[in-house]
């Protein structure tokens, strides 16, 4: 018996080692997340010390005198994201409703496929298309519709392109939410004489409110951090939005534009901007995940 035992590896120990390796790999995720946060904080500290809270509300971007303010970038991010959501959320809602309630499978399958393709297109393609095709189109469109001479660059253009990018994501999640509504509820409403639209409004939306909100938050998260598509078309000046057609910047675009040449306090300023962006998207992601977890629990229970 003793000789037989010696031939085997000590699998108990190996199993324990294996478990430790796997736990470490999994914990690496938390480590990286914490690491990004800590590192941005560390490098942003000089800028935080120099500019303090004023940084968040100042729009004075003066590279010659080394004075910087984040207001243009922050308001630019907020405005482009708001425009993107205002366009994408209702459209996704209507499209999701149509695909789940009204369309025949022969229609909804290829359209679902097309939406998935739209989600897969890399962001730099959106940027190039935006720069070379969409900007001249917007110049003409605005001139025809309002007579204003528009140079094509600005928040409106960026917002529309962002809306295109987040639409497939929001739509896909909304479709899943609508599909999860128990048919018995919908059929009861139809039986009582409700139209498709009323069923969607009163039944689907109320039942799937959590999931819908989660979808909106996920789209919001994607829009807030998008860099390349916005960089090409937003105009790249440090200016607070004056109108939909004015040019400006976003946090991500400011980072991409200035990082390679930044020195001294500007580098720290950029890290602080990155920190602000990280905090915003962390907040959005955490809220979205909490919502969706709650929704999944509800759906699971019911």
């Amino acid at each position: 018996m003793a000789t037989v035992k010696k031939q085997f590896l000590n699998h108990n120990k190996l199993d324990k080692v294996f478990r430790v390796i796997c736990v470490s790999a999994a914990l690496l995720i938390c480590l990286i997340l914490a690491g990004v946060l800590v590192q941005l904080l560390y490098y942003a500290l000089p800028a935080v010390k120099r500019f303090g809270f004023n940084f968040l509300v100042s729009s004075n971007w003066d590279p010659v005198n080394h004075i910087y303010g984040a207001l243009p970038a922050i308001t630019g991010t907020l405005l482009t994201t708001a425009i993107a959501l205002l366009i994408a959320v209702p459209v996704s809602f209507i499209v999701a409703m149509y695909l789940v309630e009204s369309a025949s499978p022969y229609v909804s399958a290829p359209i679902g496929f097309a939406l998935d393709l739209l989600a897969a297109v890399p962001s730099i393609i959106y940027g190039m298309w935006g720069l070379f095709v969409f900007i001249p189109f917007m110049q003409k469109l605005v001139r025809i519709m309002t007579g204003i001479t528009f140079n094509g660059y600005g928040f409106l253009t960026s917002g529309i392109i962002l809306a295109l990018m987040i639409l497939p994501f929001i739509c896909a999640i909304m479709r899943d939410v609508f599909k999860m509504v128990p048919p018995v509820l919908k059929e009861a409403a139809f039986g009582a004489g409700a139209t498709s639209w009323e069923v969607t409004c009163d039944i689907n939306m109320k039942y799937g409110a959590g999931g819908l909100l989660g979808a909106i938050f996920l789209g919001l998260g994607r829009a807030v951090g998008e860099t390349m598509a916005v960089l090409f078309v937003v105009g790249n000046i440090q200016a607070v939005p004056r109108s939909l057609l004015s040019s400006g910047t976003t946090i991500a675009a400011t980072l991409a534009n200035n990082f390679s040449e930044a020195e001294g306090i500007l580098k720290s300023v950029l890290f602080e901007l990155g920190l602000i962006l990280l905090l915003i998207s962390l907040a959005i992601q955490i809220v979205a995940q909490l919502w969706l977890n709650r929704v999944r629990k509800q759906m699971g229970e019911k």
Binding site: H11, L14, D15, F18, R19, I21, C22, V23, A25, A26, L27, L28, I29, I32, L33, V36, Q39, L40, I94, V95, M97, Y98, L99, I111, L115, L117, L118, A120, V121, P122, S123, I124, I125, Y126, M128, W129, L131, F132, L167, A194, S196, W197, D202, L218, G221, G225, T227, M228, F232, A252, L255, A256, F259, G274, L277, L278, S281, L282, Q285, A288
Partner: protein
């Protein structure tokens, strides 16, 4: 429900239906518009020399994107090597060892949050970690930045795929006396290998088109990417960025479209391929 006339409700319903058809048509039309633009502008640039010659500066005849293609390949392979082992092992942990505890819920939550972080911040992270301290850009830093983005994706999809393996397989392996770690690799992973592969391919498709993280880490170059660990490395996406925005010359724009076309086709093909495998699995 408010009491409204039947005519009003029916009209509203039809109006919304028209609206929805219009929205769907607009979304599909935009996709077609974008793809059409990419194809029409990009096809002009494609030729045999486009694929075999390296990038050349403006003013020199010829020039293609061969070194950028190779560079993207190296960087992506590097990202896979860096992210798949920890992602897979982490997924194994969440699926085999610890499905539902505070720790695993925290890990899952962190992974989901990490997936939503803007990619430019991942590039910033690796810049500060590697480039700033070693004082040079490199393809390795680029791979690391992409790996940071891929890691949570691989982790979550591995976990989901491994969970789908029926418990009976695990139990029968353990009943035969197989040590846990051998059972996981030879039985469970093998059973889920299609799904695991699909997860990795989806992660690759996710980072294939990323530009912002590479801007701070790998930069780009006109050279062949053989000094991967110590020099800026040519890659497709940053080259497109260079040609489209850092060059006002028409011929460079055309080359940018050509490169864009290649990326678009590759990523869309990957997506379609993965989706068909997943649908097949679900159907099964």
């Amino acid at each position: 429900m408010k009491r409204r006339g039947i005519l009003f409700r029916k009209t509203l319903n039809t109006a919304v239906k028209f609206c929805s058809i219009f929205c769907v048509a607009a979304a599909v039309a935009t996709l077609v518009w974008i793809l059409y633009t990419v194809f029409r502008s990009g096809l002009q640039a494609l030729s045999w020399s486009f694929f075999v010659e390296p990038t050349k500066p403006y003013g020199i005849e010829g020039g293609g994107i061969a070194n950028a293609l190779l560079g993207t390949l190296f960087i992506t392979v590097g990202a896979v090597i860096l992210s798949v082992p920890p992602g897979l092992l982490g997924g194994i942990y969440l699926s085999e060892f610890d499905r539902d505890s505070k720790l695993s819920r925290t890990i899952r939550f962190s992974a989901n949050v990490m997936m939503g972080i803007p990619s430019i911040l991942c590039g910033l992270f690796v810049y500060a970690l590697l480039v700033y301290n070693t004082k040079h850009f490199s393809g390795l830093a680029g791979s690391l930045a992409l790996a940071v983005i891929m890691f949570p994706v691989v982790l979550r999809t591995s976990e989901d795929m491994l969970r789908m393996v029926p418990n009976s397989l695990r139990e029968s392996a353990l009943a035969l006396g197989t040590p846990r770690w051998i059972a996981v690799f030879t039985i469970v992973c093998r059973a889920a290998r299609n799904g695991l592969l699909t997860g990795v391919l989806l992660a690759i498709a996710r980072v294939g088109g990323e530009t912002a993280p590479l801007l701070f880490t790998a930069l780009w170059s006109d050279d062949w990417p053989f000094s991967f660990f110590s020099e800026p490395t040519a890659n497709l996406t940053v080259t497109i960025n260079e040609y489209a925005t850092n060059s006002p010359f028409e011929v460079m724009h055309t080359r940018a479209w050509g490169a864009a076309l290649i990326i678009c086709i590759a990523i869309l093909a990957l997506n379609i391929f993965c989706r068909s495998i997943l649908n097949y699995k679900r159907g099964n």
